[in-house]
Amino acid sequence: MTTIVSPMPGKVTDIKVKVGEEVTEGQELLIIEAMKMQMPVKSPQNSKVSDIKVEIGQGIKKGDVMIELE
């Protein structure tokens, strides 16, 4: 299992995948926004989304687990 953690504090502005979805390396999983910048968070590997732990609009801290991949 691989966990996708937030690289910075901010707010989740978009979630681009669903639980159970197959994802490829480099695919955008979600967008977080902070300091006037939208940062796409990409998948580090080919995998499948096993859990999404955040919602759109939710505030997050650096290091918070956002998505779990198989």
Partner: protein
């Protein structure tokens, strides 16, 4: 007589003997002598202190022979330029640091300082030679004093090719640049065994002291290298950018004909950066297009990735580059980023290397995490170092430059000799959204349609202030330039500032927020 001479010399050159040398090779490392052989131009190395010997008698040490005292010192030429070296020899009593080992080491630095040539240390040592007791402790003090007194006079580069643990590890960290071999370079204030007995923490040496620990977490390793050969190649490459000492005339010896036209126009740049300030991109793409032949020697690339630092050439002239990286943490400046930039700026200033700074920065990081870590005092280091620096400083605002970060990354009135901005630049105290929601807070709150009023006020503020022209009208920006012409403008500015001379009233030094 000649036989004795040959015999004695040959014995020292054997280092720790064939068995120890084989062990060293088994670890994937070269011996100190092999490293020196590869590092210097063929036949140029002169060794000094070959016969230096310890004087310890305790614990049977009087019978112990340690060839060259476990550290080979001398000077030679690297690409035709003189360099001083001290290379620890792990094959002789594990390269342990004793009184005469330390003496050789610090005398090598003293000599390099007095003669104005760079010093390169190759670290590969099992630590303090405990049999020597107080004498080994004292020679750390000699070493630190030598290197600190040489700091700012000659460049000092640490190559962590083997272990360097305990108090000794302050030595590489206090040099200007630290390179760490991926598999063999290990650095730490204490190794795992000591950590375990003193604190109970169970941790292995690779995790505690390896490349992840220092290149990513602590920010002490400037460059991770694959092995000894890679390490020495990269050290030679770095040396090519550095003057031998802090004498102003010395920097001309680093100029090279790169064959890249200083006035080269790159039309791709006009469409490279997204105009929308909230879309991330990789600043490397900009840097590669404006420097000579795309040759960027990046340092600390895995630490505080929200800013980039490194050396490149403009018109053949070595230049320090500091750039925002919008792709990481919005390119906003946090404590680590500020530390990374400030020390680099000070290095460049000490050695008369001009600075080119590229802005795309929304501000310093705000919020409790950074506030409590001390973003104000860390951020202050950038402001101090840029204002203190007297080297030529050229700044280009690529896209945005807001708030304290505008001053922290060297604007015209915090030290830039020239400051240019691209037409898409937004230079202001804060972004329109923040500004409008504060100035018009009451109006928005009391409006029938707060959303509409807010949007209207943001748009007004944006039209009025979010552009490069407000700053240009006051002369805070020298010109708004086409992105394609960036290289040309930087080169002309560097030509113009080539003989810059700043005279300031005497003081011991500024009280930078260390």
């Amino acid at each position: 007589m000649l036989d004795e001479y040959k015999q004695k010399r040959e014995k020292v050159k054997q280092m720790g003997g064939p068995k120890a040398v084989a062990q060293q090779h088994k670890r994937g490392s070269w011996t100190a002598r092999e490293r020196i052989e590869y590092f210097f131009d063929p036949g140029t190395f002169t060794e000094i202190g070959l016969f230096v010997k310890h004087r310890t008698t305790a614990f049977g040490m009087d019978k112990r022979e340690i060839p060259a005292e476990g550290v080979i010192t001398g000077f030679g030429k690297v690409n035709g330029r003189l360099v001083m070296v001290a290379a620890e020899d792990y094959t002789t009593m594990a390269g342990t640091f004793g009184e005469y080992h330390g003496k050789k080491f610090s005398q090598a630095i003293d000599l390099a300082k007095d003669m104005g040539i760079p010093f390169v240390g190759m670290n590969d040592s099992g630590g303090a030679r405990l049999q020597e007791g107080m004498d080994t402790l004292q020679c750390y003090a000699w070493l630190f004093t030598s290197q600190v007194l040489a700091s700012g006079i000659i460049p000092q580069i640490a190559l962590l090719m083997g272990p360097c643990l305990g108090g000794q590890a302050y030595h590489p960290v206090m040099q200007d640049f630290v390179f760490q071999c991926r598999e063999t370079g290990r650095m730490g204030i204490a190794g795992p065994a000591f950590v375990k007995t003193q604190t109970g923490e169970d941790i292995d040496i690779d995790t505690l002291c390896g490349v992840e620990a220092h290149a990513v977490k602590s920010g002490e390793t400037h460059l991770v290298v694959e092995d000894d050969k890679d390490c020495l190649d990269k050290a030679k490459e770095l040396l090519s950018f550095l003057p031998a000492n802090n004498n102003k005339d010395e920097r001309k010896s680093t100029y090279q004909d790169t064959g890249d036209d200083p006035e080269r126009i790159d039309s791709e740049l006009d469409n490279l950066v997204p105009e929308e300030p909230y879309i991330a991109y990789d600043m490397h793409d900009v840097i590669m297009r404006i420097i000579d032949n795309g040759h960027f020697f990046e340092l600390l690339k895995d630490f505080a990735q929200n800013v980039l630092i490194g050396f490149a050439r403009f018109g053949g002239r070595p230049t320090g580059i500091v750039a925002s990286q919008p792709m990481c943490a919005a390119g906003a400046l946090d404590c680590d980023a500020a530390d990374k930039v400030a020390r680099f700026v000070r290095f460049c200033d000490l050695f008369n290397i001009p600075l080119v700074t590229l802005h795309d920065v929304p501000g310093y990081w705000i919020g409790s995490a950074e506030e409590w870590k001390g973003i104000l005092r860390h951020g202050a280091k950038m402001i101090y170092s840029y204002i203190d620096a007297t080297v030529p400083k050229i700044t280009v605002v690529i896209r945005k430059s807001f708030a304290g970060a505008y001053t922290g990354m060297c604007c015209k009135d915090t030290g830039a000799d020239f400051m240019f901005a691209w037409p898409i630049a937004k230079i202001c105290i804060v972004g329109a959204e923040t500004a409008a929601s504060i100035i018009f807070a009451r109006e928005i709150k009391e409006a029938e349609d707060p959303k509409a009023i807010k949007a209207q006020r943001i748009a007004e503020y944006r039209d009025l202030f979010e552009n490069p022209y407000c700053a240009a009208e006051r002369g805070f920006i020298d010109d708004v330039i086409m992105p394609s012409e960036t290289r040309k403008y930087i080169n002309r500015a560097l030509d113009m500032t080539e003989n810059k001379n700043v005279v300031r009233p005497w003081r011991k030094y500024s009280n930078i927020n260390l």
